[in-house]
C-alpha cells in the first residue's frame, strides 16, 4: 500500500523544496498540486522515475532465448 511522504527543505531565504515520495503516477501529481496550494508559487517540478510506474501494478520482464542446432550429419 502506498504511503505518501514529503521531504521538505525550507531555505533561509524562504525558498521551499519538497520531495514527494511513496506514491506513483497521478497520485504524485495530486500531492504536488496540494503542496503548491499550501505554499504559493511553483518555480519548478521534476517528475522522477517512480512517477512513471503504473499505479499498483507489477512489471514482469520475460526473456526467451532460442538455440538452433544443426542435426548431426548435416
Amino acid at each position: 500500500m502506498e504511503q505518501p511522504e514529503f521531504e521538505i527543505t525550507i531555505a533561509p531565504d524562504g525558498k521551499v523544496r519538497v520531495h514527494v515520495t511513496g506514491v506513483s503516477g497521478e497520485r504524485c501529481l495530486e500531492y504536488a498540486d496540494m503542496i503548491r496550494e499550501i505554499v504559493g508559487r511553483e518555480e519548478s517540478r521534476d517528475l522522477t522515475r517512480e512517477y512513471y510506474a503504473p499505479d499498483g501494478s507489477v512489471r514482469i520482464g520475460v526473456q526467451q532465448q532460442i538455440h538452433v542446432r544443426e542435426p548431426p550429419g548435416v
Partner: protein
C-alpha cells in the same frame, strides 16, 4: 522518489501572523523586540534602507492604525510595517553602510518568509493528517522536515 517541487511562498497573512513570524526570527538573529514606547523615545542613528517582502500582503482586518513592530540589536534596528500597497515593509537603520544594511534587511526578510512557510506547511499538513517523522535545522540554517501520511 516521485517528484521534486521548488516553490516560492506567497506571504499573505494577517498582521498578528506576520508579527509572530517576526518575533520568531528575532531571537535567533540576535535581535530583541522593542516596546513601541521605547521606539518613540529613541531612534537609531545612521544610514537607513527600506525594503519589502516581494509579493507579500498584510491583510487589513484586525490591524490598528500605524501598526508596526521593531526589533533591535547593537548594530541595527528594523521596523516592520504595512506599506500603502499592503506589502510587509522593512526599514533598516544602523551603523553599517547602505549595502550592509540592505544585505541585513534581505537576510531578515528571508528568515521571516522561512518562518511563515514553515508554520503554514506544518499547520496545513497536520490538518490533512500528516505527521512529522523527523525535523532538524541544517548548518546553513535551512529547516528540514520529513512528514508522512498517518494511516
Amino acid at each position: 522518489m516521485s517528484a521534486v517541487c521548488v516553490l516560492t511562498p506567497v506571504v499573505i497573512a494577517s498582521w498578528p501572523a506576520m508579527s509572530a513570524a517576526v518575533v520568531g526570527v528575532a531571537g535567533p538573529l540576535g535581535f530583541s523586540v522593542v516596546p513601541i514606547a521605547t521606539v518613540r523615545q529613541r531612534r537609531q542613528s545612521g544610514e537607513r534602507v527600506v525594503t519589502e517582502i516581494e509579493g507579500s500582503e498584510v491583510l487589513e482586518e484586525a490591524m490598528g492604525e500605524q501598526e508596526k513592530i521593531v526589533i533591535r540589536r547593537d548594530d541595527a534596528e528594523i521596523e516592520f510595517s504595512r506599506d500603502e500597497r499592503g506589502a510587509l515593509r522593512l526599514c533598516v537603520t544602523g551603523k553599517g553602510s547602505k549595502a550592509e544594511l540592505d544585505r541585513l534587511g534581505r537576510e531578515v526578510a528571508g528568515r521571516v518568509v522561512q518562518q511563515f512557510a514553515y508554520h503554514r506547511l506544518m499547520t496545513e499538513l497536520k490538518a490533512r493528517d500528516f505527521g512529522v517523522v523527523e525535523e532538524h535545522v541544517g548548518a546553513d540554517q535551512s529547516i528540514n522536515v520529513r512528514v508522512r501520511l498517518n494511516r
